[in-house]
């Protein structure tokens, strides 16, 4: 747990951070966000004592950081910066092994850890271990930067715009990858960004700063639905409703649905269609194949499979783990009022309608 209470930092006449009180719970992903120069980096760097406080206290797991030896403290926290700062004269393995070597880990343990981390970040150890930083792409370098911060398995990770220097596609890949890793590791993370989409995508709680002051500290949902003031409103932008949807998973908002099998007789299927207005048609394993509604019943077909309107699996079936924003986008694109929701194997698990999304 990280507790900042009444933390102030002044540089001469400039107040970088003013009376900031924020608590980050264990295992929480906290994102610091705000316009340039609002004191995000300063706040982050006060936590690991790279910047001394002017006044106030910062406690980590109940202990005042001011009472700890700075080097000791920093070895227990991962630290990642936008410019990565890999050591150019060391290999990837050497870079990742920096903190373990400061902690004097035995060689075998360090080597095993390096390979484990490279695997975790999707970098094949045998080909990346001995590369030098200048041989890496921006995305690979940043993965190594994050792996390096995780090397000694710190419980706290401080990240200062780690994906800021990457192109949008690489950035999104790394964000997705990193949320997966975070779900596995459950670290306490303080993450600085000025990209609101990144904040909403990753954060458990967002801290919005302006000119060194705390403006709002809340979950992304709350910030999107109840922005504290005009500044927050403007900061999150006019598409905040859509942003909110991007936080929601389709599986949390879908509802159970009626389905018939391809081989079912049209007569039997008809009863279900009459009751629900329509029904999804699935094949043996439950994979969605088509849709039956009142009009399709009137043809001369014998089975549901013959009468159904086929469903485009790639475009009209919503994956259960997709965000509502993505579901909405697909439905608007295909002109659907409701769509089937399927698991990763394509099996029908429910349905979602425009009404469901509007109510979410």
């Amino acid at each position: 747990m990280i507790e900042l209470s009444c933390v102030t930092k002044r540089y001469g006449g400039v107040t970088a951070v003013e009376e900031l009180t924020v608590t980050v719970a264990d295992g929480e992903f906290a994102v610091l966000i705000g316009p340039s120069g609002c004191g995000k980096s300063t706040t982050l760097r006060m936590v690991n004592r790279l910047v001394p406080l002017t006044s106030g206290t910062i406690r980590v797991d109940g202990t005042d950081v001011g009472s700890r030896a700075p080097e000791q403290l920093r070895r227990e926290m991962g630290y990642v910066i936008q410019s990565v700062g890999l050591f150019p004269h060391m290999t990837v393995a050497g870079n990742i092994a920096v903190v373990p070597s400061l902690l004097k880990w035995p060689r075998q343990r360090t080597e095993a850890r390096v390979d484990e981390l490279l695997d975790l970040f999707g970098l094949d150890p045998s080909s990346y271990r001995d590369k030098y930083p200048r041989q890496l792409s921006g995305g690979e370098a940043q993965r190594v930067g994050v792996a390096r911060a995780l090397a000694a398995d710190p419980s706290i990770l401080l990240m200062d715009e780690p994906f800021g220097a990457l192109d949008p596609i690489t950035r999104e890949t790394l964000q997705t990858e990193f949320s997966r890793i975070q779900r596995e590791l459950g670290k306490t993370i303080v993450f600085v960004t000025h990209d609101i989409d990144e904040a909403i995508r990753l954060a458990d709680r967002i801290v919005i700063l302006r000119e060194g002051r705390l403006i709002q500290h809340d979950t992304p949902e709350k910030i999107l639905t109840h922005p504290a003031n005009r500044f927050v409103l403007e900061f999150i932008g006019s598409d905040r409703a859509l942003k909110r949807l991007s936080r929601m998973k389709t599986s949390d908002h879908m509802r159970p649905t009626a389905s018939v099998k391809v081989m079912d007789s049209l007569a039997g299927a008809g009863a279900i269609v009459m009751r629900n207005g329509f029904a999804w048609v699935t094949c043996g394993e439950g994979v969605v194949r088509g849709r039956l509604d009142g009009q399709t019943l009137t043809g001369g077909a014998a089975t549901a499979g013959e009468a159904m309107i086929p469903v485009n699996r790639g475009l009209e079936v919503i994956p259960a783990d997709a965000s509502l924003r993505e579901a909405l986008s697909r439905m608007v694109q295909r002109g659907l009022r409701n769509a089937p929701v399927a698991d990763e194997k394509g099996r029908l698990v429910g349905e979602i309608s425009l009404e469901d999304i509007l109510e979410a």
Binding site: N48, L50, Y79, I81, F87, P88, H89, M90, V98, A149
Partner: protein, 389 residues
């Protein structure tokens, strides 16, 4: 019809230079005694067969450089001949000296003449060009140059050349020579050692403290522009005054003339390249790497040893290389204030108008400067971290 001529400019120019100088200038100089006026003897006026052989070598080199012939032949000729030419030229000069000694007695002197030096230079140019050409020609050059140097050393040591004036000067001063060699090496290396001890922290400090930077480099730059003789001149009365004021300094061996002022002056000159390159090396370290290192919990000294110094080391070593080459040259001047070293021979020779004595000081000075240069360059190659290349 394919063109008959394909001039290779560098070897062509060099071999024409070698040929022309051998035809027109004196290959060795004859003097009735050590201080008498010299009389130039051209290559073809020397002994029976040496002269024509050397001339033929130059003609072959020149024609190879201009004719369109298979590249293999060119490689063999340009790669092997220059290396063989150097000891041959020395042998020709040595032979002439020996015959002269027999004919005119031991007080007559034969020294190396302009054509010999120009030929040496021209051969070196062809070898350097071959080195840059690379491939087979480079390998052959390396082979012939190594062999050439070995034979040259053998000729010098075996006594075959002992009638040449420069070796006569050497033989007369054999003990002195070793002593001055040691003095020269000791003085220049301890000056650079001092400069490293002072310049490393100074350069690091200049990197860390912006306020110090301007002043420190202004002083060092200014000192660097003071002519060495003037600096020695200033130090003599200064140290003399100091020792008369504090006799304990005198007892410690510090005098107005001799090693002390020379060491101080040489250290001052070496300080700028060392400090400046240390500063440049540390400035070349990405601030993000330093920030990351601190953020991961490195102490100041761990950061210095594990991150900043390894990244800066090639640039720092380059500064030490410059300082060392410069100090070896300046040490020769320091002989003027009684610090010893090869400058002793140079200034004695100048005083006596004995060119060969001057060369006895100047040639080894240049050789050790070149050796120091090569040594440090090798070290830079080894120290340069792979990730930075």
């Amino acid at each position: 019809m394919p063109p008959l001529l394909l001039p290779r400019k560098v070897p062509l120019t060099a071999s024409v230079l070698g040929l022309g100088s051998s035809l027109l200038l004196g290959f060795v100089t004859f003097r009735a005694n050590r201080l008498a006026a010299g009389e130039a003897i051209r290559l073809l006026q020397t002994g029976p067969c040496g002269g024509p052989v050397l001339m033929a070598a130059w003609i072959i080199l020149a024609t190879t450089s201009i004719l369109k012939i298979p590249e293999r032949w060119v490689n063999f000729t340009l790669g092997l001949l220059p290396g063989a030419l150097v000891p041959t030229a020395l042998k020709v000069a040595g032979g002439q000296a020996e015959r002269t000694a027999l004919a005119s007695g031991d007080i007559a002197r034969v020294s190396l003449g302009a054509a010999f030096w120009v030929s040496l230079f021209a051969a070196a140019v062809i070898m350097l060009d071959a080195w840059h050409t690379g491939g087979l020609r480079r390998k052959l050059t390396l082979f012939s140059a190594t062999l050439g140097i070995a034979v040259t050393v053998y000729l010098m040591v075996s006594g075959e050349m002992s009638h040449l004036s420069i070796l006569r000067e050497f033989i007369n001063r054999r003990e002195r020579f070793t002593g001055e060699l040691m003095a020269h090496l000791a003085l220049s290396s301890s000056a650079v050692g001092m400069a490293v001890l002072l310049g490393l922290p100074l350069g690091i400090l200049a990197h860390r403290k912006a306020r110090l930077r301007g002043g420190a480099f202004f002083v060092l730059n200014t000192l660097q522009t003071v002519p060495s003789l003037a600096l020695f001149g200033i130090l003599i009365p200064l140290l003399a005054a100091l020792t008369s004021r504090f006799p304990v300094l005198g007892e410690a061996g510090i005098q107005g003339i001799g090693t002390a002022p020379a060491l101080i002056a040489l250290t001052v000159y070496s300080l700028l390249p060392v400090a400046r390159n240390t500063f440049a090396g540390f400035s070349s370290v990405d601030p993000a790497a330093v920030d990351a290192g601190r953020g991961m919990g490195m102490t100041g000294s761990q950061l210095l040893v594990r991150v900043e110094f390894p990244i800066a080391s090639p640039i720092i070593l380059n500064g030490i290389r410059v300082a060392l080459v410069q100090a070896i040259g300046l040490t020769a001047v320091a002989a003027l204030i009684g610090a010893g070293g090869f400058g002793v021979f140079i200034f004695q020779g100048l005083g006596q108008a004995a060119t060969d004595l001057v060369l006895l000081g100047a040639i080894p000075t240049n050789l050790i400067a070149a050796a120091a240069d090569a040594l440090l360059n090798g070290l830079i190659g080894v120290a340069n971290p792979r990730g930075l290349r």
